[in-house]
Symmetry: C2
Subunit: 410 residues, 2 copies
């Protein structure tokens, strides 16, 4: 019964949705090399140390540090060079007192050596003799075994979103496969007797489907896979059957509702029938996007979006995006870039409601200005022309021209 639901502020609405969700989508093993932007479902553990052998961080000579303790420019230490540490294999010789081995960055220290003297701190006397002009401390210019990672170290936590350096770090330890959350499959149904496939030529009164594609983009951006379910006529039975069928094959469902009141009520009734607990939120204190429906049906999130493409985008960004990261088990989803800009016009608002105003960013007098993209509420291209959304907080009466405000970039 939608009448029982009161309009909630956006963060309370999202919290209510989250409390009824299943913990996470199923997991899968994939190649680490292809795991960028995926969310870890198990915490990888180091099975071996990194580095696995003592490694030089400089080009120079592997030495016993104690042989150099009194060395200075005035009174250098003299060492005998007995060979070179090869790249990619262990040195065949060990270092005795008074000896040194040529070593390159990344090379393996020979037995007996505990430091590397930078080549710049030495002087070559003959092919087999060098002067060392500064004392080296034990361990200097050397990475010890396990100094980067020790066997058994947890490398990254469950819920971590994999970045380029994480892929490299895992491969460094031979972890060539990782367990990640599956990409959530999100079914998207467009409804409305007036909506047609964009490939078709509209007749008078018909409009092409927009939300399947803009919401599909939002889904893809949040790590999901958009599954377009097509366009359904404004008919309860047809909508229910299509919704149930698509929900069965998806991890989440989006109904881009017809915009008339009667059709909105139908959407709510259909969602109620898809499973328990059903509709949790019917109305959010945001503009645009107030007639939003948030539901959980058999542990899966279901979204009833306003048909207005601008509202649908705002609602998608506010609710679908965080829900998809949550389904993947990601606790710290990527932040959308937010910047501060000065408003070019006075903007009025109503306390108790969060306003999202489409703005263009303009540089003027070496300052960043946010200029509202005015236009009636149903215009699609106000969104296309905008660089971001300016947010008027829930407790504000509005923002005056010249004031600084947060702009969330698209």
């Amino acid at each position: 019964m939608p009448e029982l639901f009161t309009v909630l502020p956006p963060h309370e609405a999202l919290h209510k949705l989250f409390t009824h969700l299943a913990p996470r989508v199923p997991i899968e093993m994939i190649d680490t090399a292809r795991a960028l932007n995926r969310v870890l479902a198990e915490a990888p553990i180091a099975r071996s140390p990194l580095p696995a052998f003592p490694r030089s961080t400089m080009d120079g000579y592997a030495v016993r540090a104690s042989d150099t303790f009194s060395a200075s420019e005035a009174i250098p230490a003299y060492l005998t060079v007995i060979g070179e540490s090869p790249m990619g294999s262990a040195p065949t010789r060990s270092i005795e007192r008074g000896q040194a081995l040529i070593i390159h960055t990344g090379g393996m220290l020979p037995d007996g050596a505990d430091a590397v003297v930078m080549i710049e701190r030495t002087q070559k006397i003959t092919d087999t003799e060098i002067e060392v002009m500064r004392a080296a401390a034990p361990g200097e210019n050397v990475l010890q075994v396990g100094e980067d990672v020790k066997p058994g170290d947890p490398l990254l936590p469950i819920g971590h979103l994999l970045r380029p350096q994480d892929l490299g770090g895992l491969m460094a330890l031979g972890i060539t496969q990782v367990s990640v959350a599956q990409r959530p499959r999100v079914g998207i149904l467009a409804t409305g007797d007036e909506v047609i496939d964009p490939h078709d030529e509209p007749q008078p009164g018909q409009v092409r489907d927009v939300n399947t594609y803009s919401i599909g983009g939002i889904v893809e951006r949040a790590g999901g896979i958009a599954q377009a379910g097509g366009i359904i006529r404004d008919n309860y039975e047809a909508l229910y059957e299509a919704a149930q069928d698509l929900l069965d094959r998806s991890d989440a469902l989006v109904l881009s509702a017809g915009s008339s009141v009667s059709v909105r009520d139908m959407t709510s009734d259909v969602i109620e029938k898809l499973g328990r607990p059903g509709v949790l939120v019917h109305g959010v204190s945001i503009k645009p996007g107030k007639p939003t429906i948030l539901a959980v049906c058999d542990s899966k999130p279901v979204f009833g979006l306003p048909g207005n493409p601008v509202s649908a985008m705002v609602v998608g960004d506010l609710f679908i995006t965080p829900t998809l990261w949550k389904l993947q088990g990601c606790d710290r989803p990527p932040l959308r870039q937010t910047i501060r800009a000065r408003l070019t016009h006075n903007l009025a608002s109503v306390p108790g409601r969060v306003d999202y105003i489409q703005v263009k960013l303009i540089e003027r007098d070496s300052q960043l200005w946010a200029e509202p993209v005015f236009g009636k509420s149903n215009l699609i291209y106000t969104l296309v022309k905008a660089d971001g959304m300016l947010i008027i907080p829930i407790d504000a009466n509005g923002i005056a021209a010249g004031e600084l405000a947060d702009v969330k970039l698209f």
Copy 2:
């Protein structure tokens, strides 16, 4: 001759690279529905108006505005309801003086009507008669033909990175295919006698390849396709042949150089032989990442990265990322999120050099703090443990503990 090149500040180095690049990678036509994050190579033009018919933005009654001009709560206007505008087709009846037609949000206005009265401003008397309690202005609650987009309007500029709402906006006009820049293919070669495939078990002195995967992630993030060319021994002929072959099949080439001085020089010599003008920058005033090589060979960018994985990441982020967007013709690439945080420790720097310090972000006393992740320069996991890079500008001596600094999130 590398000796002739002086160390350049990062922005000058990038500028020098850009001046020698070919304008753009080839273009291709793809489905708009799959064009998220692609860069437009041709500017799509509207072939039809949006909306294509006068549309109601409200649920209510289509009327002649002049019939309501004197209406008020005290003295309402009385209108005869002659039917309903169907969703998805043109109304079959036109409106005469004193008449009204039921209309839904998104419905088409009948001939003769020039405004819509919201249902909330009316009172139903009988099934065929309503009272209108407020005057409607001509055009009120109506989207006129072409009010959103007019035929011939340029919709988005060349070089625009496609966002979710752009896909929706293009589909609204039946533009189901778009011309975009091909994703640049970036060949990546790892070099070094000590480097092995991560699937293999390292012997003493050997390390697994890291940079192919971390740089591959950077390439993918910037819209490119990483083409791993494998691991090449430190041998001039072998490196040259592999590099030439991979460059022929790629739009850009990355050589992750061995880290010893002799190998770095070999990388530079190989790049010089790949094509004109060859090496443009040999050394950038950044830390880490100073021994970076930027080159253009036969109009294609070629990068010689330091072997140190941390340096390679910094250089990749600073130079490979903007170059890939540039190759796609994108003038306003997505901004990496940058936030301000207070530094937990004093950090020294040298004027004339930009320092990139790996930091973890910590919330303390409801403020955001940036804590440097200390560790020797070649540790891979300092990067994995960090949330971002703190930037010490080129003219600074360092940053004191407690001061605010910019942190570029990974």
